[in-house]
């Protein structure tokens, strides 16, 4: 029982940064912009988040610093890819390289320092319920926030007019423009939201997951978040499935390696990727017709005047 609870807790912890970053990227891509710089924005969020928390002693200020760093990075992307209509793939890749370099510089002075990680919720009695108590009522604030975030995004996209307009921009920017919607402004806001989420997801790592900063600590999570968006066919519900599935298989294969199953460890390490791809591909096969990707994804838009 103890073990099951421990596994579920570590699955939630491993999945949360993926879910937050992927939620942001989902909104960005739904507006028609492909920002491949998630990894760069995340690592900047990690460095600046840790710096903020270490200097002030406040996890909340640290998280805010992470959000600001991610947003600023995304504004660099927006300036290039939307303002100057530069190729989005190239800009996104450059943003990742910039983020990795810059975060190393900013974080250099903080390597080896430790902070007190974000506290976990404790409600007497509720949290003490065996098995599910700590899972449901004993997480850190980031976990609850990530769930609120994806539910909020889902409601925004499918239940509000603003969400409809955002999806319209991603489907056909020429039509959206012809109807009088400010495509570039909407996309800039979507890119900024994606940056804020990536920054927060990055900050989660040193503020809650491991209470210290090392360069490159995002370790490819930004790329996984990107892949999750694609495999979820840009749907928030499937994104949750994908993120938790990836986290779950990551943790399970670690335990499985501990039990000494005679399968090469490299194969076990590849399992989370395989499992996520297979499940999400099966999910998207269920959909009949219609294109899954936002039709205008990654294409440059220059309005005529």
């Amino acid at each position: 029982m103890e073990l099951v609870e421990a596994i579920i807790l570590s699955v939630l912890a491993a999945s949360t940064p993926l879910l937050i970053a992927a939620t942001g990227e989902l909104v960005t891509e739904r507006s028609g912009v492909l920002n491949l710089g998630v990894e760069g924005m995340m690592i900047m969020g990690a460095a600046c988040g840790f710096a903020g928390a270490w200097l002030t002693g406040s996890i909340i200020i640290g998280a805010i610093c992470g959000i600001i760093a991610g947003t600023l990075m995304s504004l660099v992307f927006a300036l290039m890819a939307l303002g100057l209509a530069v190729n989005q793939v190239a800009t996104g890749l450059a943003l990742t390289i910039l983020g990795i370099g810059l975060s190393g510089l900013i974080g250099a002075g903080f390597v080896g320092e430790r902070i007190t990680p974000a506290p976990h919720l404790y409600i007497p009695l509720l949290t003490d319920i065996p098995l599910i108590g700590r899972v449901l009522f004993g997480e850190d604030a980031f976990v609850y926030l990530s769930i609120a975030l994806i539910v909020g995004v889902w409601r925004f996209l499918y239940r509000t007019r603003a969400g409809l307009i955002l999806r319209a921009c991603g489907d056909n920017h020429v039509s959206a423009h012809a109807l009088g919607y400010p495509v570039l402004r909407i996309r800039t806001l979507a890119v900024m939201f994606g940056g804020a989420c990536a920054g927060l997801a990055g900050a989660y790592l040193p503020l809650a997951y491991t209470p210290f900063f090392i360069p490159g600590m995002t370790a490819g999570r930004g790329w996984i978040a990107l892949a999750l968006v694609v495999f979820s066919s840009w749907r928030p519900g499937r994104l949750v499935v994908g993120a938790y599935l990836f986290g779950a298989v990551t943790i399970l294969q670690l335990h499985a390696q501990g039990w000494g199953i005679g399968i090469p460890s490299q194969f076990m390490s590849a399992l989370p990727y395989l499992a996520t791809v297979i499940v999400l591909v099966l999910l998207s096969r269920a959909r009949t017709g219609g294109s899954t990707a936002p039709a205008a994804l990654g294409t440059v838009f220059v309005p005529d005047r």
Partner: protein, 523 residues
Amino acid sequence: MSDAMPNSLHTREPPLLQTIGLTKRYGDFLANASIDIDIFPKEIHALLGENGAGKSTLVKAIYGLIQPSAGEIRWQGERIVLSGPSEARSRGIGMVFQHFSLFENLTVAENVALGLDGKESFKDMSARLEQVSKTYGLPLDPRREVWQLSVGERQRIEIVRALMQNPNFLILDEPTAVLTPQEADQLFIVLERLKAEGRAILYISHKLEEVKRLCDTATILRGGKKVATCNPRQETAASLARMMVGGEIKEVKAAASRQTTVPRLVVNDLTLAPDEPHGVRLEHISLELKGGEILGIAGVAGNGQDELFAALSGERLAKDPGTVVIEGIAAGHLSITLRRKLGAAFVPEERLGHGTAPRMRLSENALLTGHAASGMVRHGFIDTAATLKTVDKATKTFDVRKAKRDPEAASLSGGNLQKFIVGREILRNPAVLVVSQPTWGVDAGAAAIIRQALLDLAASGAAVLVTSQDLDELAEIADRIAVMFHGRMSVPLAAGEATREKLGLLMGGSSLDQKEVAHAARA
């Protein structure tokens, strides 16, 4: 200029919308030069002109999509400056775009909601949508996603969306270009009704007969300037065309053809699944084309014409080689280069990006289709002189107008580029020419040259297959006309028997059992 108002009714009522000296400049280029136009209530006003005459620019300015460089727009006598389409809509100006401004992956109701100001709830809007579509006889299912709908249904969404704003003035940009004759007739009933309700309509079209039938007034633009305002009912189609072009258009005439006895292109029961999600499945297509003959394929866009072109050109290969036979050789499995070597030539619909590589020079584009069989490559090296000679020859034979000897393809106007592409293929003396929408978006002068070239090619003994949505064009050049609908092809009708009504019915899908028809065609 004959600016006298043709309809005495108009002298009593003030104009609903006026442009006075409206000018739009892009750099050195004058898209609209000081255009005056008066549009009255209860009027269907045609806006005529060739491509590039400035029609789109003018309506974009009236709809607030672009800001005029000079001049003014008056709405109900009052000068207005439109900040954007939403302001135009709120004043009562609606627009139905030529290239629909629809969102494929959203539902009909969502598409309509995006065109409104969003002040009413989605539920109220959906209810009103059903009511408006019922009132005007434009049936729509609000819950379906747009990609599932036909072109006619898509246009209904656009019109219903515009009508839901209850506009006093509606702009329609080539609304019948993609409709069957019967669908167009239904649209005219709606437009007449709107007119009777006291609204004004600005109607852009290339189809002069239609304008004569429907419109009260016509304003004709040429080269960005207004050349005339007239009553189209008192003009002939030829006199309207003269004003649009600014000169006579050459009549195309067919020479006596040399029909061969052996078919040069045969398609045997071709069935092909689509290779993309929204594609059309080709079903049991059969046809036979002798030398000296032009077969026209009519049909509303998106009924399998693109897929048929791909199957004929070798962009998509058939499993059974015998389904496509070129010059007596089974070619269904052969690549596009090998088919060219058999004597076939292909002109796709899309000029830039399919027919030519836009950023490459004309000589390089000549090489791209001519490398297989036209002696432009020697020992693996490009014979630059030969490619340039092809460009010069095409330029001279087909009157291609360009700034330099060998410019980039993208720098040519649509008509000139199309003349070059058709010329490039014809100069190879093909045995079989498959051409898709040969005069789409091409001005009348260039269209006449291209049609004449196709007739001459057939007269010299080649087999020509023309896909077109322009029934007048097919009537002019084709010996037989078949119709494609939902990936199937009707029995070809002799040009003399192929009336607009018959073709229209086939284009709408009403016909005999198609399978029988296809087999009969082969027999």
